[in-house]
Symmetry: C2
Subunit: 249 residues, 2 copies
């Protein structure tokens, strides 16, 4: 079973996800999963922390896949508990394909994604009528200029969506520069939410222009969700919404 654990607060695990974890023989976790639920498990449950699999040059993802397949083939009820949603930068499909190719059936239980819940828990809506008609969620892992990058950052900036960045906090200045160069205003608000869903959650606010001039906000550290766009202004406090008459329906 592939379970999305939400942003970190075990209360943001889904009802079905929680039931699956508590019924498992083996729970395979990494550092972004809602680890507090592990304390509720029976001592007979095997917990495999795949964050401890050494990150060398040889395929540790394949080792994670092997753990899942081996335990399932041994007749165990295996839950792979991931942070957020398993299909948002979670390599969920890779693990699912590896299991199915080995003859192991997989059920998917979606989760609360930090890309939406992180901002939401800091009072930032990723969409708002009259302000923005959608949002884009992008991995900041490979920023502009990185040879692995496949995003057209200028086009993305010009699409007029809220931009939500997961991971890659050190790429924020380069991304802010690309977005600014593509024509977004220097005053565009930016909010960085750290440790979303955990007791240590906190956020920082800035603007595109400030980040290009001065670098990332002081104190920014991973894991963080960064919101670029007018809605990020809600992180500074409530905004009175004066909707146009045609939107008051």
């Amino acid at each position: 079973m592939l379970v999305g654990g939400g942003p970190g607060d075990p209360g943001l695990l889904t009802v079905r996800g929680r039931q699956a974890v508590l019924a498992a023989d083996v729970v395979v976790v990494d550092r972004l999963a809602p680890l507090a639920i592990l304390a509720e498990l029976d001592p007979s449950v095997e917990v495999v922390d795949v964050a401890k699999i050494p990150r060398g040059r040889y395929t540790p993802q394949a080792q994670i896949n092997d753990v899942l397949v081996d335990r399932a083939k041994a007749g165990k009820n295996v839950v792979r508990l991931k942070g957020g949603d398993p299909f948002v930068f979670g390599r969920g499909m890779e693990e699912l394909v590896a299991c199915e190719e080995a003859g192991v059936e997989v059920e998917v239980i979606p989760g609360v994604t930090s890309a939406v819940a992180g901002p939401g828990l800091a009072g930032v809506p990723v969409t708002q009528r009259g302000m923005v008609q959608g949002f884009a969620v992008v991995s900041g892992h490979a920023g502009p200029g990185d040879h692995r990058n496949t995003v057209d950052w200028a086009a993305l900036a010009q699409s007029n969506l809220t931009l939500v960045l997961l991971m890659g906090v050190e790429k924020l200045p380069a991304i802010a520069r690309a977005v600014l160069d593509a024509g977004r205003e220097a005053q565009t608000p930016v909010a960085c939410i750290m440790d979303a869903g955990l007791p240590s959650q906190r956020h920082l606010t800035s603007t595109l222009g400030e980040i290009v001039r001065d670098g990332a906000p002081a104190g920014l550290s991973a894991p963080a969700v960064t919101v670029i766009g007018d809605v990020a202004a809600f992180a500074r406090g409530r905004i009175h919404l004066d909707l146009p008459a045609e939107l008051t329906h």
Copy 2:
């Protein structure tokens, strides 16, 4: 309390969201909320179905806000239960601001968004290493050419993200045309997931070119989540992932 109810399956409500609903004096719902949980409520709980508030030319959203404020000011524990996440096209911030301006404090409990979970439940990951570096979620309510539209669809198409459309199924051909005209390939797979998270969930597959030529897939009906991009091919069946060597970590 502003609670995201997830895509429809009550098992995809969060643990904390479920607790909040079951502890409420008043539950304010609309048709996209996970209505099955209402059967578990004590008969003394007031359930207000705001989908029944007539949609006339005079501000029904204000009437919904009034219901929330009135009940809270009367000392009731009010839960506003919404489908998906309250801040993804949910008008959640409007209701929150209305409450706070009336002196009513609001706690937000994020939910599983249909934009990610709808595809996920149909086996479609919105991101996948080596295929796509992010996804954009856009309301199809105001498509290209609509005077309310604020999205630059050509720029969005060129950004190289998975495109997820919520609402506005009747705008799909116009959106497909805009995406195709912006240079995306005619063979780009499209998947439409209907009634995500409900027993009636089902999906249709097509391509950008087919939709531009023949219109939306036969049988498409609301509510639906539409995915445009290479990952949509997973809706036709499992794809063997042959990751480049540099991505096998």
